[in-house]
């Protein structure tokens, strides 16, 4: 069973790297938010993996908290995106980079 331990961690690292690359590469803010979700998910995977293999509970508790944080982050982020959309701008991060009202 513990032979799978590096597999979980490498999958988690790969997902985090893909999410980080997506945040840097994509210009659509909705996709960027989804990439952030991907990164949070990979962190969850690492937390639960360590909780399982060190026989502790902290990882699972904090995975739960990370899920709550991700949910609230999505709510605020999507509210921001709808606000930008309503102000009549195109949803393109390169054009919104100055972040001025």
């Amino acid at each position: 069973m513990s032979g799978l331990f590096p597999g979980f961690l490498i999958l988690s690292a790969a997902m985090f790297a893909i999410g980080a690359a997506g945040v840097l590469v994509r210009r659509n803010p909705i996709v960027v938010f989804m990439c952030i979700e991907l990164m949070l998910n990979s962190a969850n995977l690492a937390l639960v993996t360590y909780a399982r293999y060190t026989h502790t509970m902290a990882g699972q508790v904090f995975a739960l908290i990370v899920i709550a944080v991700a949910a609230s982050e999505v709510v605020v982020g999507l509210a921001l995106i709808t606000g930008v959309y309503r102000s009549g701008r195109r949803l393109d991060l390169d054009e919104l980079s100055e972040m001025s009202e």
Binding site: I30, R52, V61, A71, V75
Partner: protein
Amino acid sequence: MSVVFGLAAVIAFLGALGVVLSQRTIYSAMSLVLNMVALAVLFLLLDAQFIAAVQIIVYAGAVMVLFVFIIALLSPGAEERLRSVELRLLLGGVGAVAFTLLIGRLTLNGITVGAHGRLHGALGPFSPVAVNAHGQVQTLGDQLFTTYLLPFEVTSLLLLVAAVGAVYLSRRRRQLA
């Protein structure tokens, strides 16, 4: 066990790639759902049944429905044209591969895991057998409301702030302008 792990890992990996590489936003969202469901399977493999259920309910249920709703509402019809994206994609891909190799190397170097595939250091009291004997959700709840009470309360405060912030951000600004 390892067959299920391999299958779920491949699906999760392909889902993650699909999020970044899809041309249409809605395909990205569907790839993310795929990724999250595969992750729930992995959580089940890791004896974290409650986290797996929460993953399905909160992420694949609530969060992704919110995403799809926003995509449908805003309908960013003109999808991202790949104008200067090729160089960026190349750089991003190289960075991602380098980071993964780095973490993989660090994972296998004998600091976290020894040569025999076991973690160094003493194991905690929550072995899967002990946890399942007491009940997985019961153990998690006990820990959440005793040892980790402060993070739990801070999380509730965070949810409140997020709800207030979302309402503030998304209301009409007629009186402000």
